[in-house]
């Protein structure tokens, strides 16, 4: 089956992104197609490479990045939600006149249309959040 995932909560604050990650992993392990993971609301904070969790804790952004590296998973961060919360890639930083960017490898910033398109294309769109 073809799956899409929506992550609506930030990492660490809420378990939703952990659960979404485990679900995504299970989707891939079972041989299904993972069409896209879309990050919205505080979920965009999953995509910062500047987070430094304690050494004995899981590194959520890195786990997502590794998934993208290994499986080519499309990790999309909503641009409007990202702008509000200070998540930038190189292009956005330049456009907004900011002095740096913090997006983690494997993530890309794009519009909400990517979420709707995932809803149209996927057999299942699974939402993780409150």
């Amino acid at each position: 089956m073809k799956y899409g995932i929506l992550v609506n909560e930030g990492p660490y604050q809420h378990q939703a992104s952990d659960t979404a990650y485990q679900f995504a992993k299970a989707v891939l392990d079972k041989g299904h197609e993972l069409y896209r993971v879309f990050f919205y609301h505080d979920g965009v904070n999953n995509g910062t490479r500047f987070a430094v969790p304690p050494q004995d804790d899981r590194k959520i952004a890195e786990l997502w990045s590794q998934m993208a590296e290994a499986h080519g998973t499309d990790l999309v961060v909503c641009i409007a939600a990202a702008q509000r919360r200070g998540l930038l890639d190189e292009g956005e930083a330049k456009r907004q006149g900011k002095d740096g960017n913090n997006i983690a490898p494997g993530f890309r910033i794009s519009g909400l249309g990517q979420l709707i398109e995932a809803g149209i294309q996927c057999d299942r769109l699974v939402v993780f959040g409150d």
Partner: protein
């Protein structure tokens, strides 16, 4: 060889329901959910919105946000009609539990029982809950 999903071209119309369960202020869910609905309108899907739990407060008439320093975005719900988002469902039990009635709401809606709304949700192909 064509895969089943390849038949779902740009012309695919799915039943999308946006489920709004949170109060309009206090968290950003309601505002950002509305942003999704407005963007999604461009995709010309079969869209409906459901309001339940504290989500019914999103449609309350006479919202005044001066005291909390936030934008009152409730007039946007009146603009939904212009985006062809005309199916707004409000759960009767959630209204009653909060001492509200249909007259308290700022847009025309269809009030329906929890049971009927559950059936309607069952008929959807994509449910985005915020």
């Amino acid at each position: 060889m064509s895969e089943p999903w390849e038949e779902e071209g740009p012309g695919t119309v799915k039943k999308f329901m946006y489920v709004n369960r949170k109060a309009p202020y206090g968290t950003i869910y309601a505002l950002e959910s509305l942003e999704v609905v407005l963007i999604a309108a461009a995709f010309e899907q079969d869209v409906s919105m459901a309001f339940l739990d504290d989500g019914v407060y999103q449609l309350k008439k006479g919202q005044d946000t001066k005291g909390i320093g936030q934008k009152n975005f409730s007039p946007t719900y009146r603009a939904l009609e212009g985006y062809d988002v005309e199916k707004l469902y409000v759960e009767a039990e959630s209204l009653a539990e909060r001492g509200l009635s249909e007259d308290d709401l700022l847009v025309p809606v269809e009030v329906m029982s929890r049971e009927a709304l559950a059936e309607l949700m069952n008929e959807q192909e994509v449910i985005l809950s915020f």
